[in-house]
C-alpha cells in the first residue's frame, strides 16, 4: 500500500501552507537572509512543487523515469530563475 493516505495528504498540505507563509514573510520583511532571500524563496518553491509531485500526484510510486523527468523540471526551472536573478543582480553592481 503506497498510495497517499488522507492523513499523509493533510501533513503535506500543512507543510505547503507553512512554506507559503514562511516564504512570503521572508520576502515582505526584506529577508533575514539578506540578498539570499530570493534563493531561499526559490528553494521553498522547489520544495513545495516537489511535495505536490511526489505526494499529491503520487509520482513517488510512478516509474523512476517519470519521477526523474518531473523533478528535473523543478531543478531546471528554479536554477534558471535563480541563476538569471543573480546574474542580473551582479550586473547591476
Amino acid at each position: 500500500m503506497n498510495h497517499t493516505t488522507p492523513a499523509q495528504a493533510l501533513c503535506v498540505w500543512f507543510l505547503l501552507v507553512v512554506a507559503t507563509l514562511g516564504g512570503t514573510w521572508l520576502a515582505e520583511h526584506h529577508g533575514l537572509a539578506g540578498r539570499w532571500t530570493v534563493a531561499v524563496i526559490l528553494l521553498l518553491a522547489a520544495f513545495k512543487v516537489r511535495l505536490v509531485m511526489i505526494h499529491f500526484m503520487e509520482l513517488g510510486k510512478a516509474p523512476w523515469r517519470w519521477r526523474a523527468t518531473f523533478q528535473t523540471w523543478i531543478v531546471v526551472v528554479c536554477s534558471l530563475i535563480g541563476g538569471m536573478y543573480f546574474v542580473a543582480l551582479s550586473g547591476q553592481g
Binding site: N2, H3, T4, T5, P6, A9, L10, V12, W13, L16, V17, T20, L21, G23, T24, A27, E28, H30, G31, R35, T37, V38, I41, L42, A45, K48, V49, V52, M53, F56, M57, K61, A62, P63, W66, T69, F70, W73, V76, V77, C78, L80, I81, M84, Y85, V87, A88, G91, Q92
Partner: protein
C-alpha cells in the same frame, strides 16, 4: 502538444486498483509535462526581459498585491488536498464521498477565479494593461495562460462530478478521475512557481 493517442487510452486502463503495478502511469502525464515545458519557456522569457529592465520590473512587481497571491496559493493547495481525498474515495468505490470531495475541490477552486477577477479588475481600473510595460505584458500573459488552464481544470472537475453520479467511481471512470486530479495538481504547481516569480522576486 501532447500525444493525442495517450488520452483515449485512459478508458482501457486496468481498473483493478488493488494491484498497482509500477508501470501503470496515466497518459495525461505526457500532456502535463508538455504544458509544464511551455510554462518553463515563459518563465525563462520573463527572466531574460527582466535582466534588461531590472528597475522597471521590480517597481512594477511591487504594485502587485502579495496577499492576493498568497490567498490564491492557499486556495489552490487546499483544493489540491481535496482532490487527493476525491481520488482516495474513488479508489475505495465510495461514490458519495468522491462526488462530495470533487464538489469541495470545485467550490474552493472557484475562489481562485474570484480573487483573480478582483485582481485583474483592480489593475484595469488603475489603467494597467498588457501594454503598460513589459512586466505587465508578462504578468497578463503568464497569469492569463495559467487562468485558462485553471478554467480547463474546473470544467474537468464539473464533468467528473457529473459522471461520478452515473457511473461506478472505481470502474473505468477511475482513470479519468485520476487524470483530472493530476491535471488539477499541475494548475497548482505552476502557480507555486508563478507566485514568487511575479510577486516576490522584486524584494530586496
Amino acid at each position: 502538444m501532447a500525444d493525442p493517442s495517450s488520452l483515449p487510452a485512459l478508458a482501457t486502463e486496468p481498473t483493478d486498483v488493488t494491484e498497482t503495478p509500477e508501470a501503470r502511469v496515466p497518459g495525461v502525464l505526457v500532456f502535463i509535462l508538455a504544458d509544464m515545458i511551455v510554462f518553463a519557456m515563459l518563465f525563462t522569457g520573463f527572466m531574460v526581459e527582466r535582466s534588461g529592465q531590472l528597475a522597471l520590473f521590480d517597481q512594477s512587481s511591487a504594485t502587485l498585491d502579495v496577499w492576493l497571491g498568497i490567498l490564491n496559493t492557499l486556495i489552490l493547495i487546499t483544493s489540491g488536498l481535496f482532490v487527493v481525498f476525491a481520488v482516495n474515495a474513488a479508489r475505495q468505490g465510495r461514490t458519495r464521498a468522491t462526488r462530495g470531495w470533487l464538489l469541495a475541490t470545485f467550490v474552493v477552486g472557484a475562489g481562485f477565479g474570484v480573487t483573480k477577477m478582483v485582481e485583474y479588475s483592480a489593475k484595469i481600473e488603475h489603467g494597467i494593461t498588457m501594454h503598460t510595460n513589459d512586466f505587465y505584458m508578462f504578468y497578463y500573459a503568464l497569469t492569463g495562460a495559467h487562468f485558462l488552464h485553471f478554467l480547463g481544470g474546473m470544467l474537468a472537475l464539473a464533468v467528473l462530478w457529473f459522471m461520478a453520479g452515473r457511473q461506478k467511481v472505481d470502474g473505468p471512470l477511475f482513470g479519468l478521475i485520476e487524470s483530472g486530479a493530476l491535471y488539477w495538481h499541475m494548475v497548482d504547481l505552476l502557480w507555486i512557481v508563478i507566485f514568487p516569480l511575479l510577486y516576490l522576486l522584486g524584494t530586496r
